[in-house]
């Protein structure tokens, strides 16, 4: 078996790099275990973030007419007015999103406007699934799951993808791969360790004798049990080290702090996925949205500062998305309902800084919803192709023109 693997491995490398037009060397460095790997951090704002109050079109009269209560004031009109975006006229940021504004000023932040897809699906689950599967019928595996299926040949790496949170996102689920997911590092372990020293000690022999050369279900389970113990120790050791910088930002910050610690500890994980919930602001949006954006902006800023202090910022691309935007008009409960197009945000020295794309037309709506100006799969294509060095066309099941979100 080993001999045949040696025969096929060089062929795989050569043909793959020919297909991508990359020099042979760069393909070798993206093999598992080599620290120069690019990392993708996906931040999901769960529930449908209100894009219009995040990236504020203060130059639009329609915006103020349709949102008499909720609209963010134009810059200069008080404490809770929108922040300006240098170089942009009529487009600003929610004042609580100042953390992101700082990243923008540092040239490492990018806003991609008007992201959506054709025939928007306002069903509660389906629209979430569409972003996770990159398929408008929402019926496929996760797009990142397909990335793992497609990229990791041979024995899949135990922790190629890590999702924080108590539900493994569909985005990370592939045909062959399941993300490693845990709510917090402390839960990524066997609870029986707490029963006492003697039990914790006996636990170490649980995986049993590993038999080389067998590949039945028991051998597979034994290998996984051993991997589980090792990676659990690895993760907990990584997060026991104090961060290099100080952090602001609440629950999202805690998750990103964990991610930063794992990156720093040299985990060979390629994709991290974190989620912040609460964006489904059907009622009384003003206060809650402000608090959420404060968390998001501050966490992203802290995360980037930490990565920079570690010397890892060049390797890590952060992509922020939400499953849909919200309707243009406010509803009668001080909130907004499920909508369609909304911006995405990317962070890192490798992004094309600034505000990209076209803001959706505020007066030409689709039954009260924004019409999208760019398909989200173009952003996925850019990330897969140009950052992860993966076969975007196969993974997305179609050729999408990559959005110019990364520096050439």
């Amino acid at each position: 078996m080993l001999a045949s693997m040696a025969a096929t491995a060089p062929l795989f490398i050569q043909r793959a790099s020919e297909a991508m037009g990359l020099p042979l060397g760069s393909m070798l460095t993206s093999l598992a275990g080599v620290p120069q790997d690019h990392v993708l951090v996906v931040v999901q704002l769960a529930g449908g973030n209100d894009g219009l109050n995040t990236v504020v079109p203060y130059g639009s009269a329609d915006y103020y007419r349709k949102r008499p209560q909720l609209a963010i004031k134009a810059p200069g009109k008080g404490n809770d007015a929108a922040l300006t975006l240098p170089g942009m006229d009529g487009i600003g940021l929610h004042p609580a999103f100042s953390g992101f504004r700082e990243l923008y000023d540092d040239g490492v932040g990018c806003v991609v406007q008007g992201i959506g897809y054709p025939n928007p699906n306002r069903s509660h689950f389906s629209s979430m699934d569409i972003w996770h599967t990159a398929d408008t019928s929402g019926r496929d595996n996760g797009w990142l799951g397909r990335y793992f299926d497609n990229t990791c040949s041979g024995t899949p790496e135990p922790a190629a993808g890590i999702a924080l949170g108590n539900t493994a996102p569909l985005a990370m689920q592939g045909a062959k791969s399941l993300p490693v997911s845990f709510e917090s590092p402390d839960l990524y372990r066997w609870m029986g360790e707490d029963f006492g020293e003697d039990v914790a000690s006996a636990y170490k022999s649980i995986p049993g004798k590993q038999e080389a050369g067998t590949d039945d279900n028991l051998a597979f389970l034994k290998r996984t049990a051993l991997d589980a113990q090792m990676s659990s120790n690895q993760v907990r050791k990584a997060v026991s080290v104090s961060p290099l910088t100080s952090w602001n930002g609440g629950d999202l910050a805690t998750q990103l702090q964990t991610v930063a610690a794992l990156i720093r500890a040299g985990m060979t994980t390629r994709v991290y996925y974190v989620t912040l919930g609460g964006f489904d602001t059907h009622a009384n949006q003003a206060g809650s949205h402000q608090r959420l954006l404060r968390q998001v902006g501050d966490s992203l800023l802290s995360f980037q500062k930490e990565l920079k202090a570690q010397g890892n910022d060049q390797r890590v691309l952060t992509m922020v998305f939400s499953e849909f935007g919200r309707r243009v008009g406010e509803n009668g409960s001080g909130g907004t309902d499920h909508g369609t197009a909304a911006p995405m945000y990317l962070v890192g020295p490798m992004v094309n800084p600034g505000v990209l794309g076209t803001h959706p037309n505020m007066s030409n709506l689709d039954d009260g919803d924004l019409k999208y100006t760019a398909d989200f799969r173009q952003v996925y294509a850019a990330v897969l192709k140009n950052w992860m060095g993966a076969d975007a066309d196969t993974i997305l099941r179609k050729r999408w023109n990559p959005a110019p979100v990364l520096k050439a």
């Binding site: 029986g192 597979f220 034994k222």
Partner: protein, 496 residues
């Protein structure tokens, strides 16, 4: 050469064979239950499980759920909404939207209640094979709530699958599933019309439900089948045929020409050779060997299952009877070889160890975290099963679930709350206490290891556990729980 699936001799059916039968044709059991089954002998044991109508079923039929949550709004209401749209009356439209969202929220809550109801049923049923088959069909005719968004329709489907779980594959299951409101919605057959055919149901019916991908059908057959299925929709929570939408012209399917309708399409499908083979193959994966590879033993077994199924005009029980009585089923290579699904792990742990359920909501959540949320299959392909269930984090969840069931210690809880509580494991080993000339600790450890893992591991782990037990002095409940936690954390425990 012995015929494939030739029967096991009665004298070869003992305790461990009964345990294997109960694990696979059910969700395991306590030592007493296994002993009872083994005392029946092979034939009577299989009959007892298979002819479940003879067993009293005191469990509720789920009729207390609401049918009205997602029912369409009245015609008057619809007309008022249309008028509001024309007049661009945002205020009224917003009321409709808010009302719909509220109904959807309530319906999602009911869906979770139905999940809990079914889990409880799986845990308590006196008819384990009946529920296990219902679970099989639930995964086979996979239908996802995420797209159906109607918990009552999901309940109706579950009910239909349960009623027909041991019935006729063609007449009771496939003919019914194409008339099932949840399935029709899930695969868009309500949008499959003469003027605008939708191929979803036709395709999955062949690819996933009856023949298997690429097994004896072409794209043209899908097109013809889709046209045959036009007009099959639902209204008022039941199947409704819409003549106007139906394409009654001639179609060409499998080389035959005719004005086929949906029922005709099913009949044509079952004339294909692969129709006899596909469901038996899936059942063999579910009950015997979860490998996706087809070994020569598997091939012979499935071929035999297929011929028995066909010979019995698509009634599944004779095929299952032959399978559960066969030497092949009890072959050592087929014992403790299937990776337990999350539901199997959970239900088997509770039934065999007789632990409390603690919180059915938490248990339901745990199944979701392990990758199997009832009524939410990841896709129309259902749950892949096998090794797909397992990675490092789901392994921890599985192990911690056992700790939770045995102690009530919730992994999500912030602090360790004192010693294990609420479950007494001492009855399990009462018969091993105070026997003259015996090494009690060794007996207890060996017995528990055999019970949880099938065969006591012959490696150092057994010695280690015995040493631990001895060091505790008297083996009290806490020590038993600690030992069982270690054993259920072994990789072997994930197999049944």
């Amino acid at each position: 050469m012995p015929r494939a699936l030739s029967p096991l001799a009665e004298r070869d059916f003992g305790y461990w064979e009964a345990a294997h039968l109960l694990n696979r044709a059910g969700f395991g059991g306590t030592p007493t239950q296994i002993l009872t089954l083994s005392n029946m002998g092979l034939k009577k044991a299989v009959d007892y499980l298979l002819e479940w109508e003879r067993v009293d079923d005191p469990l509720s039929d789920g009729g207390e759920f609401r049918a009205d949550i997602m029912q369409p709004i009245s015609r008057d209401s619809r007309e008022r909404r249309e008028r509001a749209r024309r007049d661009e009356d945002e205020k009224t439209l917003e009321q409709y939207r808010a009302a719909r969202q509220e109904r959807q929220r309530i319906d999602r809550r009911q869906m979770r209640s139905i999940q809990s109801w079914w889990l409880e049923r799986l845990i308590e049923t006196p008819r384990p094979l009946h529920e296990k088959l219902t679970l099989f069909w639930h995964g086979h005719f996979a239908t996802g709530y995420r797209s159906v968004e109607d918990s009552w329709h999901m309940m109706l489907q579950n009910d239909m699958l349960r009623r027909n779980a041991g019935g006729n594959l063609k007449n009771d299951l496939v003919h019914n599933i194409i008339r099932d409101p949840a399935m029709i919605k899930y695969l868009n057959n309500n949008q499959n019309t003469r003027s605008a055919p939708n191929e979803n149901l036709a395709r999955e019916l062949m690819e996933l439900f009856t023949l298997g991908e690429g097994n004896g059908y072409t794209e043209d057959d899908i097109k013809g089948g889709a046209r045959a299925l036009t007009g099959m929709g639902y209204r008022d929570d039941a199947f409704a045929f819409n003549q106007r939408n139906h394409d009654s012209s001639a179609k060409r399917i499998f080389g035959r020409q005719g004005q086929f309708d949906g029922a005709d399409f099913v009949e044509l499908i079952f004339q294909r050779p692969s129709a006899a083979w596909f469901v038996p193959w899936k059942m063999h994966r579910f009950f015997v060997d979860d490998s996706t590879e087809i070994s020569s033993d598997t091939k012979a077994a499935v071929n035999r299952m297929a011929s028995t199924l066909k010979r019995n005009n698509w009634n599944v029980r004779p095929m299952l009877k032959e399978l559960f009585r066969s030497k092949h089923f009890y072959d050592p290579s087929n014992r403790r070889s299937i990776i337990k699904s999350p539901v199997q792990l959970t239900v088997q742990a509770i039934r065999s160890l007789d632990t409390p359920v603690r919180s059915i909501t938490r248990v339901n959540q745990a199944c979701g975290l392990m990758g199997q949320e009832l009524f939410f299959p990841p896709s129309v392909k259902g749950w892949e099963g096998g090794r797909k269930w397992i990675n490092t984090s789901t392994l921890f969840i599985r192990n911690n679930l056992l700790v939770y069931l045995m102690t009530g210690r919730d992994p999500g809880a912030k602090a360790w709350q004192g010693s294990p509580g609420g479950w007494d494991a001492t009855p399990l080993v009462a018969h091993l206490r105070g026997l003259n000339g015996r090494d009690e600790a060794k007996d207890i450890v060996t017995y528990l290891a055999r019970f949880t893992l099938g065969d006591a591991p012959t490696d150092d782990r057994l010695d280690e556990w015995t040493t631990l037990a001895k060091s505790r002095g008297h083996i009290d409940n806490e020590t038993l729980v600690h030992l069982l936690s270690l054993m259920t954390a072994c990789p072997e425990y994930q197999l049944c």
